[in-house]
Protein backbone atom coordinates (compact mmCIF):
# COMPACT_ATOMS: atom_id res chain seq x y z
CA UNK A 1 0.00 0.00 0.00
CA UNK A 2 1.88 3.02 -1.23
CA UNK A 3 -0.49 5.59 0.26
CA UNK A 4 0.20 4.04 3.62
CA UNK A 5 3.75 5.31 3.75
CA UNK A 6 2.79 8.72 2.36
CA UNK A 7 0.06 9.62 4.80
CA UNK A 8 1.11 8.08 8.08
CA UNK A 9 4.11 8.02 10.37
CA UNK A 10 5.44 4.77 11.70
CA UNK A 11 3.00 4.12 14.58
CA UNK A 12 4.12 4.71 18.15
CA UNK A 13 2.59 3.01 21.19
CA UNK A 14 -0.51 5.21 21.28
CA UNK A 15 -1.11 4.94 17.53
CA UNK A 16 -0.75 1.16 17.77
CA UNK A 17 -3.41 1.08 20.47
CA UNK A 18 -5.68 3.22 18.29
CA UNK A 19 -5.08 0.87 15.37
CA UNK A 20 -6.04 -2.17 17.42
CA UNK A 21 -9.25 -0.43 18.50
CA UNK A 22 -10.03 0.36 14.86
CA UNK A 23 -9.23 -3.22 13.91
CA UNK A 24 -11.77 -4.46 16.45
CA UNK A 25 -14.34 -1.98 15.10
CA UNK A 26 -13.60 -3.15 11.54
CA UNK A 27 -14.04 -6.80 12.49
CA UNK A 28 -17.29 -5.94 14.28
CA UNK A 29 -18.47 -4.12 11.13
CA UNK A 30 -17.78 -7.17 8.97
CA UNK A 31 -19.45 -9.52 11.47
CA UNK A 32 -22.49 -7.26 11.82
CA UNK A 33 -22.84 -6.98 8.04
CA UNK A 34 -22.57 -10.74 7.63
CA UNK A 35 -25.10 -11.30 10.41
CA UNK A 36 -27.65 -8.94 8.86
CA UNK A 37 -27.35 -10.73 5.51
CA UNK A 38 -27.65 -14.09 7.28
CA UNK A 39 -30.75 -12.98 9.25
CA UNK A 40 -32.51 -11.53 6.21
CA UNK A 41 -31.74 -14.58 4.09
CA UNK A 42 -32.88 -17.06 6.70
CA UNK A 43 -36.04 -15.06 7.50
CA UNK A 44 -37.00 -15.30 3.85
CA UNK A 45 -36.07 -18.99 3.79
CA UNK A 46 -33.36 -18.38 1.21
CA UNK A 47 -30.71 -20.40 3.04
CA UNK A 48 -32.65 -23.62 2.49
CA UNK A 49 -30.01 -26.07 1.16
CA UNK A 50 -32.44 -27.26 -1.52
CA UNK A 51 -32.09 -23.85 -3.21
CA UNK A 52 -28.31 -23.99 -3.29
CA UNK A 53 -27.43 -27.65 -3.90
CA UNK A 54 -28.52 -27.76 -7.57
CA UNK A 55 -25.42 -25.71 -8.40
CA UNK A 56 -23.28 -28.59 -7.17
CA UNK A 57 -25.40 -31.71 -7.65
CA UNK A 58 -27.31 -30.99 -10.84
CA UNK A 59 -25.03 -30.64 -13.87
CA UNK A 60 -27.99 -29.41 -15.94
CA UNK A 61 -27.81 -26.09 -14.08
CA UNK A 62 -24.47 -25.48 -15.72
CA UNK A 63 -24.79 -27.34 -19.02
CA UNK A 64 -28.33 -26.20 -19.82
CA UNK A 65 -28.37 -22.67 -18.43
CA UNK A 66 -25.28 -20.95 -17.09
CA UNK A 67 -22.58 -22.18 -19.47
CA UNK A 68 -24.59 -21.56 -22.67
CA UNK A 69 -25.40 -18.10 -21.29
CA UNK A 70 -21.76 -17.45 -20.49
CA UNK A 71 -20.82 -18.65 -23.98
CA UNK A 72 -23.21 -16.10 -25.51
CA UNK A 73 -21.67 -13.41 -23.29
CA UNK A 74 -18.18 -14.37 -24.46
CA UNK A 75 -19.27 -14.49 -28.11
CA UNK A 76 -20.78 -11.01 -28.02
CA UNK A 77 -17.82 -9.63 -26.05
CA UNK A 78 -15.24 -11.16 -28.41
CA UNK A 79 -17.02 -9.93 -31.54
CA UNK A 80 -17.39 -6.44 -30.06
CA UNK A 81 -13.75 -6.25 -29.00
CA UNK A 82 -12.44 -7.24 -32.43
CA UNK A 83 -14.77 -4.85 -34.26
CA UNK A 84 -14.15 -2.07 -31.73
CA UNK A 85 -10.40 -2.53 -32.23
CA UNK A 86 -10.74 -2.04 -35.99
CA UNK A 87 -13.15 0.88 -35.57
CA UNK A 88 -10.95 2.47 -32.92
CA UNK A 89 -7.84 2.18 -35.05
CA UNK A 90 -9.56 3.70 -38.09
CA UNK A 91 -11.09 6.63 -36.22
CA UNK A 92 -8.04 7.10 -33.99
CA UNK A 93 -5.90 7.48 -37.12
CA UNK A 94 -8.64 9.71 -38.54
CA UNK A 95 -8.32 12.02 -35.56
CA UNK A 96 -4.57 12.22 -36.13
CA UNK A 97 -4.88 12.79 -39.87
CA UNK A 98 -3.29 15.88 -41.37
CA UNK A 99 -6.41 16.46 -43.51
CA UNK A 100 -8.59 18.81 -41.52
CA UNK A 101 -11.94 17.44 -42.78
CA UNK A 102 -11.03 13.85 -41.86
CA UNK A 103 -9.88 14.99 -38.42
CA UNK A 104 -13.05 16.94 -37.87
CA UNK A 105 -15.47 14.19 -38.99
CA UNK A 106 -13.67 11.53 -36.91
CA UNK A 107 -13.73 13.86 -33.93
CA UNK A 108 -17.48 14.41 -34.16
CA UNK A 109 -18.23 10.69 -34.62
CA UNK A 110 -16.00 9.63 -31.72
CA UNK A 111 -17.25 12.31 -29.32
CA UNK A 112 -20.89 11.58 -30.22
CA UNK A 113 -20.72 7.85 -29.60
CA UNK A 114 -18.72 8.38 -26.44
CA UNK A 115 -21.39 10.59 -24.91
CA UNK A 116 -24.50 8.56 -25.83
CA UNK A 117 -25.40 5.78 -23.37
CA UNK A 118 -24.82 2.29 -24.83
CA UNK A 119 -28.30 1.14 -23.82
CA UNK A 120 -29.88 3.96 -25.84
CA UNK A 121 -28.06 2.75 -28.97
CA UNK A 122 -28.91 -0.89 -28.27
CA UNK A 123 -32.65 -0.43 -27.85
CA UNK A 124 -32.86 1.92 -30.83
CA UNK A 125 -30.96 -0.48 -33.10
CA UNK A 126 -32.92 -3.48 -31.87
CA UNK A 127 -36.49 -2.18 -31.89
CA UNK A 128 -35.91 0.21 -34.77
CA UNK A 129 -33.96 -1.89 -37.23
CA UNK A 130 -32.76 -5.39 -36.38
CA UNK A 131 -35.96 -6.81 -34.88
CA UNK A 132 -37.97 -5.87 -37.95
CA UNK A 133 -35.25 -6.35 -40.58
CA UNK A 134 -36.01 -8.88 -43.32
CA UNK A 135 -32.34 -9.33 -44.28
CA UNK A 136 -31.40 -10.51 -40.79
CA UNK A 137 -32.66 -13.87 -39.46
CA UNK A 138 -34.72 -13.11 -36.37
CA UNK A 139 -32.59 -15.09 -33.95
CA UNK A 140 -29.53 -12.94 -34.71
CA UNK A 141 -31.29 -9.61 -34.11
CA UNK A 142 -30.47 -9.30 -30.36
CA UNK A 143 -26.83 -10.21 -30.84
CA UNK A 144 -26.49 -7.74 -33.72
CA UNK A 145 -27.89 -4.94 -31.54
CA UNK A 146 -25.57 -5.83 -28.64
CA UNK A 147 -22.45 -6.12 -30.80
CA UNK A 148 -23.08 -2.95 -32.83
CA UNK A 149 -23.92 -0.92 -29.71
CA UNK A 150 -20.84 -2.11 -27.84
CA UNK A 151 -18.62 -1.63 -30.91
CA UNK A 152 -19.68 1.98 -31.47
CA UNK A 153 -19.11 2.94 -27.83
CA UNK A 154 -15.95 0.97 -27.06
CA UNK A 155 -14.47 1.66 -30.49
CA UNK A 156 -14.77 5.38 -29.73
CA UNK A 157 -13.04 4.86 -26.40
CA UNK A 158 -10.24 2.94 -28.16
CA UNK A 159 -9.95 5.72 -30.76
CA UNK A 160 -9.31 8.14 -27.89
CA UNK A 161 -6.74 5.73 -26.44
CA UNK A 162 -4.94 5.60 -29.81
CA UNK A 163 -4.92 9.37 -30.02
CA UNK A 164 -3.67 9.96 -26.48
CA UNK A 165 -1.16 7.12 -26.90
CA UNK A 166 0.36 8.79 -29.96
CA UNK A 167 0.30 12.20 -28.30
CA UNK A 168 2.16 10.91 -25.27
CA UNK A 169 5.12 9.71 -27.37
CA UNK A 170 8.22 11.91 -27.30
CA UNK A 171 8.05 14.52 -30.10
CA UNK A 172 11.45 13.33 -31.30
CA UNK A 173 9.89 10.11 -32.63
CA UNK A 174 7.75 11.90 -35.21
CA UNK A 175 10.52 14.41 -35.97
CA UNK A 176 13.00 11.61 -36.59
CA UNK A 177 10.56 9.85 -38.91
CA UNK A 178 9.90 13.02 -40.90
CA UNK A 179 13.56 13.92 -41.14
CA UNK A 180 14.57 10.60 -42.69
CA UNK A 181 12.09 11.39 -45.46
CA UNK A 182 8.94 9.48 -44.44
CA UNK A 183 5.63 11.15 -45.22
CA UNK A 184 3.44 12.16 -42.25
CA UNK A 185 1.14 9.17 -42.74
CA UNK A 186 4.09 6.78 -43.09
CA UNK A 187 5.50 8.21 -39.86
CA UNK A 188 2.18 7.63 -38.15
CA UNK A 189 1.79 4.07 -39.40
CA UNK A 190 5.31 2.72 -39.10
CA UNK A 191 6.80 4.74 -36.23
CA UNK A 192 4.18 6.24 -33.93
CA UNK A 193 1.34 3.70 -33.99
CA UNK A 194 3.37 0.56 -33.15
CA UNK A 195 4.83 2.28 -30.09
CA UNK A 196 1.49 3.78 -29.04
CA UNK A 197 -0.29 0.43 -29.37
CA UNK A 198 2.28 -1.25 -27.16
CA UNK A 199 1.90 1.45 -24.53
CA UNK A 200 -1.90 1.16 -24.53
CA UNK A 201 -2.00 -2.64 -24.25
CA UNK A 202 -2.86 -2.63 -20.51
CA UNK A 203 -5.65 -0.12 -21.10
CA UNK A 204 -7.01 -2.32 -23.88
CA UNK A 205 -7.16 -5.34 -21.57
CA UNK A 206 -8.90 -3.10 -19.02
CA UNK A 207 -11.45 -2.15 -21.67
CA UNK A 208 -12.27 -5.86 -22.03
CA UNK A 209 -13.75 -5.75 -18.53
CA UNK A 210 -16.05 -2.92 -19.60
CA UNK A 211 -17.18 -4.84 -22.70
CA UNK A 212 -17.81 -8.03 -20.74
CA UNK A 213 -19.87 -6.19 -18.13
CA UNK A 214 -21.86 -4.30 -20.73
CA UNK A 215 -22.94 -7.45 -22.55
CA UNK A 216 -25.32 -7.82 -19.61
CA UNK A 217 -27.27 -4.90 -21.09
CA UNK A 218 -28.23 -7.40 -23.79
CA UNK A 219 -30.88 -8.72 -21.43
CA UNK A 220 -32.96 -5.65 -22.36
CA UNK A 221 -33.01 -6.66 -26.04
CA UNK A 222 -33.65 -10.33 -25.15
CA UNK A 223 -30.13 -11.52 -25.87
CA UNK A 224 -29.69 -14.90 -24.08
CA UNK A 225 -26.46 -13.97 -22.27
CA UNK A 226 -25.42 -14.94 -18.74
CA UNK A 227 -27.82 -12.61 -16.92
CA UNK A 228 -30.79 -13.75 -19.01
CA UNK A 229 -29.68 -17.36 -18.49
CA UNK A 230 -29.60 -16.78 -14.72
CA UNK A 231 -33.13 -15.41 -14.91
CA UNK A 232 -34.43 -18.48 -16.78
CA UNK A 233 -32.55 -20.75 -14.39
CA UNK A 234 -34.08 -18.92 -11.45
CA UNK A 235 -37.62 -19.53 -12.69
CA UNK A 236 -36.93 -23.16 -13.65
CA UNK A 237 -35.51 -24.09 -10.24
CA UNK A 238 -37.41 -21.48 -8.19
CA UNK A 239 -34.13 -20.10 -6.87
CA UNK A 240 -33.95 -16.64 -8.47
CA UNK A 241 -31.84 -15.08 -5.73
CA UNK A 242 -29.27 -17.88 -5.77
CA UNK A 243 -29.06 -17.90 -9.58
CA UNK A 244 -28.25 -14.17 -9.63
CA UNK A 245 -25.65 -14.53 -6.88
CA UNK A 246 -23.89 -17.32 -8.80
CA UNK A 247 -24.04 -15.32 -12.07
CA UNK A 248 -22.59 -12.30 -10.26
CA UNK A 249 -19.80 -14.49 -8.87
CA UNK A 250 -18.94 -15.67 -12.40
CA UNK A 251 -18.80 -12.07 -13.66
CA UNK A 252 -16.68 -10.93 -10.72
CA UNK A 253 -14.19 -13.80 -11.04
CA UNK A 254 -13.69 -13.41 -14.80
CA UNK A 255 -13.43 -9.61 -14.64
CA UNK A 256 -11.13 -9.67 -11.64
CA UNK A 257 -8.84 -12.09 -13.50
CA UNK A 258 -8.80 -9.69 -16.46
CA UNK A 259 -7.96 -6.75 -14.17
CA UNK A 260 -5.07 -8.71 -12.68
CA UNK A 261 -3.92 -9.60 -16.21
CA UNK A 262 -3.98 -5.91 -17.21
CA UNK A 263 -1.79 -5.10 -14.21
CA UNK A 264 0.63 -7.90 -15.14
CA UNK A 265 0.89 -6.66 -18.73
CA UNK A 266 1.59 -3.16 -17.47
CA UNK A 267 4.36 -4.35 -15.17
CA UNK A 268 5.77 -6.57 -17.89
CA UNK A 269 5.94 -3.62 -20.29
CA UNK A 270 7.54 -1.52 -17.56
CA UNK A 271 10.18 -4.17 -16.92
CA UNK A 272 11.13 -4.30 -20.59
CA UNK A 273 12.91 -1.04 -19.96
CA UNK A 274 12.26 2.52 -20.88
CA UNK A 275 12.98 2.42 -24.59
CA UNK A 276 12.21 5.42 -26.75
CA UNK A 277 8.75 3.98 -27.18
CA UNK A 278 7.75 4.21 -23.56
CA UNK A 279 5.63 7.29 -23.01
CA UNK A 280 7.19 10.03 -20.94
CA UNK A 281 4.93 9.22 -18.06
CA UNK A 282 6.79 11.53 -15.73
CA UNK A 283 6.48 14.55 -17.99
CA UNK A 284 2.83 14.36 -19.02
CA UNK A 285 -0.23 14.71 -16.79
CA UNK A 286 -1.41 11.32 -15.65
CA UNK A 287 -4.74 11.53 -17.49
CA UNK A 288 -3.14 11.55 -20.93
CA UNK A 289 -1.22 8.32 -20.43
CA UNK A 290 -3.62 5.39 -20.61
CA UNK A 291 -2.89 2.97 -17.79
CA UNK A 292 -4.73 -0.11 -16.65
CA UNK A 293 -5.52 1.62 -13.38
CA UNK A 294 -7.09 4.58 -15.17
CA UNK A 295 -9.20 2.49 -17.50
CA UNK A 296 -10.36 -0.18 -15.16
CA UNK A 297 -11.51 2.55 -12.83
CA UNK A 298 -13.69 4.21 -15.43
CA UNK A 299 -17.25 3.35 -14.62
CA UNK A 300 -18.07 2.21 -18.13
Amino acid sequence: MSSDSVLFDAPGPRARLRHSVLTVIGVLLVVAGGWIVYRKMSEAGQLDPALWTPFVTDPAVWTEYLLPGFWETLKAAAASVVLAGVYGLVFGMGRLSHVRAVRWVSGVVVEFFRSVPVLLMMVFLFFGYFATATWLPNQYAPMAAVVVGLTLYNGSVIAELVRSGVHSLPAGQAEAGLSIGLSPSQTLRSIQLPQALRAMLPALVGQLVVVLKDTALGTVVLYPELLTAAKTLGSAYANTLQAYIVAAAVFVLVNYALTVLAGRVERWLGRRGRSAGTPRSAAVPSDTVPTAEATSSSAR
Binding site: P117, V123, T215, A216, N255
Partner: protein
Protein backbone atom coordinates in the same frame (compact mmCIF):
# COMPACT_ATOMS: atom_id res chain seq x y z
CA UNK B 1 -41.76 13.78 -34.87
CA UNK B 2 -44.15 16.42 -33.54
CA UNK B 3 -46.63 13.66 -32.68
CA UNK B 4 -43.96 11.77 -30.80
CA UNK B 5 -43.09 14.77 -28.66
CA UNK B 6 -46.80 15.36 -28.08
CA UNK B 7 -47.70 11.77 -27.26
CA UNK B 8 -44.80 10.74 -25.07
CA UNK B 9 -43.47 12.38 -21.93
CA UNK B 10 -39.86 12.83 -23.06
CA UNK B 11 -39.16 15.77 -20.76
CA UNK B 12 -40.57 13.77 -17.85
CA UNK B 13 -38.21 10.90 -18.66
CA UNK B 14 -35.23 13.23 -18.69
CA UNK B 15 -36.40 14.77 -15.43
CA UNK B 16 -36.20 11.26 -13.92
CA UNK B 17 -32.69 10.94 -15.41
CA UNK B 18 -31.65 14.19 -13.72
CA UNK B 19 -33.20 13.17 -10.38
CA UNK B 20 -31.49 9.78 -10.47
CA UNK B 21 -28.17 11.43 -11.40
CA UNK B 22 -28.24 14.00 -8.61
CA UNK B 23 -29.42 11.62 -5.88
CA UNK B 24 -27.00 8.84 -6.77
CA UNK B 25 -24.12 11.27 -7.30
CA UNK B 26 -24.59 12.42 -3.70
CA UNK B 27 -25.04 8.86 -2.46
CA UNK B 28 -21.98 7.52 -4.25
CA UNK B 29 -19.88 10.48 -3.09
CA UNK B 30 -20.71 9.74 0.56
CA UNK B 31 -20.19 5.97 0.32
CA UNK B 32 -17.13 6.37 -1.92
CA UNK B 33 -15.44 8.80 0.47
CA UNK B 34 -15.96 6.47 3.42
CA UNK B 35 -14.53 3.60 1.34
CA UNK B 36 -11.55 5.71 0.29
CA UNK B 37 -10.82 6.52 3.94
CA UNK B 38 -10.99 2.77 4.63
CA UNK B 39 -8.66 1.99 1.73
CA UNK B 40 -5.92 4.43 2.75
CA UNK B 41 -6.26 3.85 6.51
CA UNK B 42 -3.38 2.25 8.42
CA UNK B 43 -5.69 -0.52 9.67
CA UNK B 44 -5.43 -3.74 7.71
CA UNK B 45 -9.00 -4.97 8.29
CA UNK B 46 -10.51 -1.73 7.02
CA UNK B 47 -8.20 -1.73 3.98
CA UNK B 48 -9.22 -5.29 3.14
CA UNK B 49 -12.89 -4.41 3.56
CA UNK B 50 -12.55 -1.45 1.20
CA UNK B 51 -10.61 -3.48 -1.37
CA UNK B 52 -13.17 -6.30 -1.25
CA UNK B 53 -16.06 -3.89 -1.80
CA UNK B 54 -14.35 -2.17 -4.73
CA UNK B 55 -13.28 -5.40 -6.43
CA UNK B 56 -16.71 -6.99 -6.18
CA UNK B 57 -18.84 -3.98 -7.15
CA UNK B 58 -16.53 -2.76 -9.91
CA UNK B 59 -16.64 -6.14 -11.64
CA UNK B 60 -20.38 -6.77 -11.40
CA UNK B 61 -22.58 -5.53 -14.27
CA UNK B 62 -24.87 -2.70 -13.17
CA UNK B 63 -27.71 -4.41 -15.04
CA UNK B 64 -27.35 -7.41 -12.74
CA UNK B 65 -27.43 -5.18 -9.65
CA UNK B 66 -30.61 -3.51 -10.90
CA UNK B 67 -32.42 -6.78 -11.60
CA UNK B 68 -31.16 -8.24 -8.34
CA UNK B 69 -32.46 -5.27 -6.34
CA UNK B 70 -36.06 -5.68 -7.46
CA UNK B 71 -36.35 -9.45 -7.86
CA UNK B 72 -33.94 -10.37 -5.07
CA UNK B 73 -34.00 -7.67 -2.42
CA UNK B 74 -37.48 -6.22 -2.80
CA UNK B 75 -39.60 -9.23 -3.74
CA UNK B 76 -37.81 -12.24 -2.28
CA UNK B 77 -36.17 -10.69 0.79
CA UNK B 78 -39.11 -8.34 1.35
CA UNK B 79 -37.01 -5.18 1.64
CA UNK B 80 -39.61 -2.83 0.17
CA UNK B 81 -38.72 0.85 0.31
CA UNK B 82 -42.22 2.02 -0.54
CA UNK B 83 -45.71 0.56 -0.77
CA UNK B 84 -46.00 1.95 -4.28
CA UNK B 85 -44.18 -0.36 -6.67
CA UNK B 86 -42.96 2.44 -8.95
CA UNK B 87 -41.49 4.38 -5.99
CA UNK B 88 -39.91 1.17 -4.70
CA UNK B 89 -38.13 0.63 -8.04
CA UNK B 90 -37.12 4.29 -8.12
CA UNK B 91 -35.42 4.19 -4.72
CA UNK B 92 -33.78 0.85 -5.44
CA UNK B 93 -32.41 2.34 -8.67
CA UNK B 94 -30.94 5.24 -6.69
CA UNK B 95 -29.39 2.84 -4.15
CA UNK B 96 -27.89 0.54 -6.77
CA UNK B 97 -26.50 3.44 -8.83
CA UNK B 98 -24.94 4.87 -5.63
CA UNK B 99 -23.54 1.56 -4.47
CA UNK B 100 -22.07 0.73 -7.90
CA UNK B 101 -20.47 4.12 -8.55
CA UNK B 102 -19.18 4.40 -4.98
CA UNK B 103 -16.51 1.87 -5.99
CA UNK B 104 -15.34 4.18 -8.77
CA UNK B 105 -15.53 7.29 -6.57
CA UNK B 106 -13.37 5.48 -4.02
CA UNK B 107 -10.78 4.64 -6.69
CA UNK B 108 -10.85 8.24 -7.98
CA UNK B 109 -10.15 9.66 -4.53
CA UNK B 110 -7.50 7.05 -3.86
CA UNK B 111 -5.75 7.84 -7.13
CA UNK B 112 -5.80 11.50 -6.05
CA UNK B 113 -4.07 10.52 -2.80
CA UNK B 114 -1.57 8.42 -4.72
CA UNK B 115 -0.48 11.39 -6.87
CA UNK B 116 1.07 13.02 -3.79
CA UNK B 117 4.82 12.42 -3.67
CA UNK B 118 6.07 11.03 -0.35
CA UNK B 119 8.29 14.10 0.02
CA UNK B 120 5.23 16.29 0.63
CA UNK B 121 4.21 14.42 3.76
CA UNK B 122 7.81 14.21 4.93
CA UNK B 123 8.32 17.94 4.40
CA UNK B 124 5.08 18.75 6.27
CA UNK B 125 6.21 16.67 9.24
CA UNK B 126 9.75 17.96 9.29
CA UNK B 127 8.60 21.58 9.63
CA UNK B 128 6.69 20.43 12.72
CA UNK B 129 3.09 20.19 11.53
CA UNK B 130 0.93 17.76 13.46
CA UNK B 131 -0.86 14.91 11.69
CA UNK B 132 -4.10 16.92 11.48
CA UNK B 133 -2.34 20.02 10.22
CA UNK B 134 -0.36 18.22 7.55
CA UNK B 135 -3.55 16.52 6.37
CA UNK B 136 -5.54 19.75 6.26
CA UNK B 137 -2.91 22.13 4.93
CA UNK B 138 -0.71 19.98 2.71
CA UNK B 139 -2.02 16.56 1.75
CA UNK B 140 -5.79 16.76 1.31
CA UNK B 141 -5.79 19.89 -0.90
CA UNK B 142 -3.39 18.15 -3.28
CA UNK B 143 -5.29 14.88 -3.16
CA UNK B 144 -8.54 16.68 -3.96
CA UNK B 145 -6.99 18.45 -6.94
CA UNK B 146 -5.61 15.19 -8.29
CA UNK B 147 -9.01 13.52 -7.91
CA UNK B 148 -11.02 16.12 -9.87
CA UNK B 149 -10.49 14.59 -13.33
CA UNK B 150 -11.33 10.97 -12.39
CA UNK B 151 -14.29 12.13 -10.26
CA UNK B 152 -15.58 14.10 -13.24
CA UNK B 153 -15.42 11.12 -15.57
CA UNK B 154 -17.17 9.01 -12.92
CA UNK B 155 -19.98 11.59 -12.75
CA UNK B 156 -20.36 11.55 -16.54
CA UNK B 157 -20.44 7.76 -16.55
CA UNK B 158 -23.05 7.86 -13.78
CA UNK B 159 -25.34 10.13 -15.79
CA UNK B 160 -25.10 7.78 -18.78
CA UNK B 161 -25.55 4.72 -16.56
CA UNK B 162 -28.87 6.01 -15.21
CA UNK B 163 -30.30 4.57 -18.46
CA UNK B 164 -29.64 1.09 -17.04
CA UNK B 165 -32.37 1.83 -14.49
CA UNK B 166 -34.79 1.35 -17.42
CA UNK B 167 -34.45 -2.38 -16.64
CA UNK B 168 -36.58 -1.82 -13.52
CA UNK B 169 -38.21 1.56 -14.16
CA UNK B 170 -39.48 0.82 -17.65
CA UNK B 171 -40.77 3.74 -19.66
CA UNK B 172 -40.44 6.23 -16.80
CA UNK B 173 -36.80 6.56 -17.80
CA UNK B 174 -35.18 7.80 -21.03
CA UNK B 175 -33.89 4.49 -22.45
CA UNK B 176 -37.12 2.68 -21.60
CA UNK B 177 -39.17 5.43 -23.23
CA UNK B 178 -37.00 5.38 -26.37
CA UNK B 179 -37.49 1.60 -26.57
CA UNK B 180 -41.27 2.03 -26.33
CA UNK B 181 -41.41 4.87 -28.87
CA UNK B 182 -39.25 2.92 -31.34
CA UNK B 183 -41.31 -0.22 -30.89
CA UNK B 184 -44.61 1.63 -31.43
CA UNK B 185 -43.70 4.17 -34.09
CA UNK B 186 -40.86 2.43 -35.93
CA UNK B 187 -37.30 3.68 -36.21
CA UNK B 188 -37.14 7.46 -36.27
CA UNK B 189 -33.64 8.88 -36.40
CA UNK B 190 -34.74 12.38 -35.28
CA UNK B 191 -36.17 10.86 -32.08
CA UNK B 192 -32.92 9.01 -31.43
CA UNK B 193 -30.93 12.20 -31.98
CA UNK B 194 -33.28 14.06 -29.64
CA UNK B 195 -32.55 11.54 -26.87
CA UNK B 196 -28.84 11.55 -27.69
CA UNK B 197 -28.86 15.35 -27.61
CA UNK B 198 -30.41 15.21 -24.15
CA UNK B 199 -27.43 13.26 -22.86
CA UNK B 200 -24.94 15.46 -24.70
CA UNK B 201 -26.53 18.51 -23.04
CA UNK B 202 -26.32 16.84 -19.62
CA UNK B 203 -22.74 15.57 -19.92
CA UNK B 204 -20.91 18.06 -22.16
CA UNK B 205 -20.85 21.02 -19.71
CA UNK B 206 -19.59 18.71 -16.96
CA UNK B 207 -16.81 17.43 -19.20
CA UNK B 208 -15.74 20.95 -20.16
CA UNK B 209 -15.94 22.20 -16.56
CA UNK B 210 -13.90 19.28 -15.24
CA UNK B 211 -11.22 19.70 -17.90
CA UNK B 212 -10.78 23.41 -17.26
CA UNK B 213 -11.00 22.98 -13.49
CA UNK B 214 -8.43 20.20 -13.34
CA UNK B 215 -6.14 22.21 -15.59
CA UNK B 216 -6.50 25.36 -13.55
CA UNK B 217 -6.07 23.58 -10.24
CA UNK B 218 -3.34 21.18 -11.39
CA UNK B 219 -0.53 20.95 -8.86
CA UNK B 220 2.65 22.19 -10.52
CA UNK B 221 5.46 19.74 -9.95
Amino acid sequence: MGDIIGNYDILGAFWVTIQLSVLSALGSLVIGTVLAVFRVSPVRVLRALGAFYVNVLRNTPLTLLMVFSILGMSIILGLQLSQDQARDSYWWAVIMLSVYHAAFVCEAIRSGVNTIPAGQAEAARSIGLTFGQSMREVLLPQAFRGAIAPLGSTLIALIKNTTVAAVILGTAEAAGLLAQITENEGASLPTFFLFALGFVILTLPIGLAVTSLSRRLAVKR
